[in-house]
């Protein structure tokens, strides 16, 4: 028995591009945005429609994008560039403005290229590398304030505090709901899988936010109503935690492989996944308040942090692995995503004894078999550790 609400979400997604077309005809403007530190609440509060853009997994689009950048750049950046080059994506072709933050410097380059080669209006939000310092906070406050002014000009309205308060409420609701869904998917007696939660998150990038929140709440109710009585006596499974570079919509290679080989993904600390929804507490409904809250969340791996012991991202990773009772960590790194690739060895050291596999890959299918072998060996390793009777 499938979860009915998931079908509703799929249906909502299918009709969304047409819906956006209608809204644009009514004078509404669409802002495509990426990635971790863009304050979506502000976009929403100004009456603009935020759509998070960017897909992965398409080797052909990567090649198209690479013509405008280089083959030495992150595959996700190349593919997004390819999407803008072709303009066949139903969201990309309806964007009135593209807002990109400079958390990841390669994404900042993306903004420049989109602006230059494909004639989109763009706006950049600067992000401090020294995000934990007082001056870093000051800088980010000014950046968010400037960003807000630019959006106000674009929207033709000023930001009203009451509208921002409303937006924060909706987004807080979304964040809580996603956290709840994550808890359920890791249980043995719920119908919900990690993969389904990932697809729900991806859907949320495009849907109307109020409607999305309603759907999320419906989904939670449905999941709770369908929790099975048995406490779960599943056969020995390998509970896998995903970490590393983002896994955007459309990039399913690694997930497919893990699941085909009998691994079960039970959690992640991806910036495109759970981390995005954690620890965001907007205390004041102002651009400064929003800025402080965003920069104080679980840090993004692209922002350097110079002290290992107090690194918030690693602390969160360790915590989540325990929370989700993971047996092993698959650390997924995209080629030329130096932020996460360079930290693979360190992450392994920090996590200690838990089985750890790095998968360094890109969007072509040519390494499918190679990844299969690695993941399969990893799952064999985990299972043989877990089984009471010897497997081999």
């Amino acid at each position: 028995m499938g979860l009915k609400t998931l079908e509703k979400i799929t249906a909502a997604l299918e009709s969304r591009p047409a819906e956006l077309e209608q809204l644009r005809k009514q004078g509404k403007k669409i802002v495509g945005w990426l990635a971790y530190n863009i304050p979506e609440e502000i976009i929403y509060a100004l009456g603009l429609i935020p759509i998070r853009i960017g897909q992965g997994g398409d080797g052909r689009l990567v090649e198209v994008g690479a013509r405008h950048i280089s083959t030495k750049n992150c595959v996700f950046v190349r593919q997004v560039l390819g999407q803008f080059a072709e303009k066949t994506d139903p969201y990309i072709k309806q964007l009135d403005l593209v807002a990109i933050d400079a958390t990841c410097i390669q994404l900042y380059r993306l903004e420049e290229l989109i602006n230059f080669y494909f004639d989109y209006n763009t706006v950049v939000l600067g992000v401090p590398r020294n995000f934990a310092t007082k001056e870093g906070h000051e800088y980010f406050r000014k950046e968010v304030e400037f960003f807000t002014k630019k959006l106000e000009l674009f929207a033709g309205v000023s930001l009203e505090q009451s509208r921002l308060e409303e937006a924060i409420k909706i987004y807080d609701g979304i964040r809580e709901a996603i956290k709840t869904l994550y808890r359920y998917q890791s249980l043995d007696n719920s119908l919900l899988s990690w993969r389904q939660v990932a697809s729900v998150i991806n859907a949320g990038y495009n849907l109307d936010r109020e409607r999305y929140l309603e759907l999320l709440q419906e989904l939670i109710q449905e999941v709770e109503a369908n929790l099975s009585e048995e406490s779960g006596t599943r056969e020995v499974e390998a509970r896998i935690f995903l970490s590393g570079s983002l896994i955007p919509p459309g990039d399913t290679k690694l997930i497919d492989i893990i699941e085909q080989l009998g691994g079960r993904i039970v959690g992640d600390d991806l910036w495109s996944g759970l981390n995005f929804f954690l620890n965001l507490n907007i205390k004041e409904p102002t651009p400064y308040g929003v800025a402080d809250a965003y920069i104080d969340r679980v840090p993004h791996g692209s922002l350097p942090y110079l002290d290992l012991k107090s690194d918030g991202r690693l602390a969160n990773l360790k915590h989540q692995i325990k929370e989700f009772k993971a047996d092993g960590v698959v650390y997924h790194t995209l080629r030329y995503c130096d932020a996460f690739t360079f930290k693979a060895g360190e992450t392994k050291d920090v996590l200690g004894n838990i089985p750890f596999l790095e998968i360094h890959t890109e969007y072509s299918g040519s390494d499918f078999e190679a990844i299969r072998t690695r993941v399969e060996a990893f799952i064999e390793m985990i299972k043989s550790k877990k089984e009471i009777t010897e497997l081999v």
Partner: protein, 269 residues
Amino acid sequence: MSISGNYFAGVDVGSLAAKSVILKDGEIFATGLVPSGVNSVESGLSALNLALETAGLKKEDLIYIVGTGYGRVSAPYANKAVTEITCHAKGTNYLHPTVRTIIDMGGQDCKAIRIDQDGSVVDFAMNDKCAAGTGRFLEVMAGVFKVKLEDLGSIALSATDTVPMSSTCTVFAESETISLVARGERPENILNGIHHSIANRIAGLFSRVGIESDVFFSGGVAKNSGMKTAIEQALKVNIVKPEIDPQLIGALGAAVIARNFARKEGLWA
């Protein structure tokens, strides 16, 4: 079933060769090694049939067969498929129970494997794409110098110098080699550089998993004496002498695992 023993087989189909090992009750009874063709099912069967022929057995005489290597995904003759990482671990442990670290270099990848006293995999790392650290690289170089692959090692060992190899790409390294020859560099010195370059890639894998003695070198490339020396220098270890052809270790491990599966499933006591 033959009344004179219990037989188990492992079949390892790789990118360059298909290998098979038959165990009789626990002892190595027969082996087979053939070059891999495009059809991995046929390659696996050829290797298995060769071993059966040598043993004077028929396929029905085998209690259990485990397939491994890249060809394991299409091995209809096998009861089960297990990755070559796990098989190399078991195979090495079977012959050399003191080994705790395995370096495996096959046709298209190289692996660093840490194992425990029972031959279970404790940790492993494998090369990423385009890291020029595989048997294929050596094959290409043998072609460039028009020498036999099996002679590469001894040629490298006769070098008086090491020409550093620059490229991170096998294809580019080929053109670099040609230009070095044109500049008057001696082939043995270039080959020495190539071996050291590959050893560096291997050493990179070990920075992730660490090394513990004893150390074993498996896979086809292990037969290359120059490679063995370069790796010993890069990792600062001594590699144990293999009891059998190191290219057969994966198939041996698969056969050991076949025996264990058979016992677990009650097919053999």
